[in-house]
Symmetry: C2
Subunit: 312 residues, 2 copies
């Protein structure tokens, strides 16, 4: 399980390759939540999401020989773009297996950063099968989007920056999909401050983390029929034990609440966020008993939204 | 004509009532423009636009007796909301004459800040007539949206903050409608640095400032058929002489370029801006001869966009 020291080392390794994103506040949203909200804006991050943190941390630890072979991954988009950016910067080649229903902006984002796309069907079986074939055919090195301690350490650096800037947070909430961001946040924050509470938020329509926590065993997503294209992955074998041991709770959110909160952030904060991260504000507004009166850090994970296909 | 000192005094007067908005940069837009672009983000300003600067500066100079009578204005929305906020904070009442085709978000923004709306037809004659009736009937004090030196001084404080943060700008560009923002920017910037160039950008579909400059006399808008609901006003009798004497040029922009540049800012900078301010980036990208290789300050004037009626 990643330690605070390892996440600090990851931050030292990657910090010249990433943006230190701002932490924004908004008085009208504070009033609405009856809480002090601190938004860590990874939507302003390089390649448009926090994923560059884990990707950089991993790629910077590859050997020259591994880089020469090239890297491959399966990704709904943000990890693929981030990995492509990190690898292209070091002169390597990235192959990204992507579902054929990925939003255009995420496709463009992978291509713009030098990644090569290999299409699969939008289900886990096709994704796994296609990736295996790519790895077998090309000898590329796998960089998994979340089930890898190097990735988890990298993603934990967002919480590190947030807590350095706001050391007295009572709670942090992140979205949860495969569990890299939530896992890294838990490993850093709970070791830094044993009193801090950490929550994850996920769509009701892809609630594997919530049900896994309830049952104590990894559960599959029964549907992934959610607008949150970044939150359809399956919780990982490395991330789940971290979450199970450390998290204070996983909060499932309806599609309706995800969309209305996304619109609220756009309208009041004047920033572009994905539905995959507006979910954290929905969780705060729906659970006053947990969050009211508290200093809450919310990780806004990304801003890659297809402007031609808005959900309202 | 407002002086640098008067604008400095205005800033001292209003600074505790407004946000010091951030100045953002974006490397991909720099590459596209072949210039260093510094975006002054008044879309993050209180009430969603720079208008709170001029409104606060004016209202803070009213007497108790004037405040008691209440204030009135005619506004397509941003000035109305800003004035309502400034007056409500001091315990007064604001009446805002608004065209009946104003976007919903700007209507809500006036109401949320305590303003009372009086509807008019969307043309200058109806606007003037309705406002005159309100002033006659109620004895309210007129706070004009731009044709007032107190307003011009207030709007000039955005350039003051921008130049304090980035003292070596070669050029500043602002949108132009009634001329308050451009006029205030000219009065401050040209006195602060005699070598700086200042441009205005306006829609081809409401190009009164451009034609007025050409002819040397105030010209009316022949159409106001532009998506820029904030840029449909008529250049003022106080603002025009300032612009005529000091501006380096007014750049007219097509609706197509306004919309595509707005989408570009949303997608690459992950911030919400009105079409009325994406126009300044369109002017930079369309005029490489003026802007290439330069350090350019762009005032992004507001972020009050109706998310249900996006132009793409």
């Amino acid at each position: 399980m990643p330690t605070l020291n390892e996440i600090q080392e990851a931050h030292n390794r990657i910090k010249s390759f990433i943006h230190t994103t701002p932490v924004l506040t908004n008085s009208s949203l504070n009033d609405l939540a009856n809480a002090e909200l601190y938004f860590k804006c990874e939507n302003f991050q390089k390649a448009g999401s926090f994923k560059i943190r884990g990707a950089s941390n991993t790629v910077l630890q590859l050997s020259k020989e591994e880089l020469k072979r090239g890297v491959a991954t399966a990704s709904s988009g943000n990890h693929g773009a981030a990995l492509s950016m990190a690898v292209t910067n070091l002169g390597g080649i990235t192959k990204v297996v992507m579902p054929n229903n990925t939003p255009d902006i995420k496709i463009r984002n992978v291509k713009r950063n030098g990644g090569q796309i290999i299409w699969c069907e939008p289900n886990q079986a096709s994704r796994d099968q296609t990736l295996t074939k790519v790895l077998d055919d090309t000898g590329s090195v796998l960089v998994h989007p979340y089930n890898d301690e190097r990735i988890i350490c990298g993603q934990g650096t967002a919480a590190l920056e947030l807590m350095e800037k706001n050391p007295d947070l009572d709670i942090i909430i992140t979205p949860v999909s495969g569990g890299g961001l939530l896992g890294g946040t838990l490993c850093y924050a709970k070791e830094k401050n044993k009193n801090i509470q950490i929550y994850g938020a996920e769509p009701m329509e892809a609630d594997d983390a919530y049900r896994s926590l309830l049952s104590g065993k990894i559960q599959s997503n029964e549907t992934t029929n959610t607008i949150c294209d970044g939150l359809r992955a399956q919780i990982g074998t490395i991330t789940f034990p971290i979450i199970r041991e450390k998290v204070n709770g996983i909060i499932p959110i309806s599609e309706e609440d995800i969309i209305s909160t996304m619109q609220m952030i756009w309208e009041r904060m004047k920033i572009i966020v994905e539905p995959s991260c507006s979910i954290v504000l929905a969780a705060v507004l729906n659970n006053k008993k947990i969050f009211s009166g508290k200093k809450v850090g919310l990780i806004l994970s990304g801003g890659n939204v297809d402007l031609d296909r808005l959900p309202w």
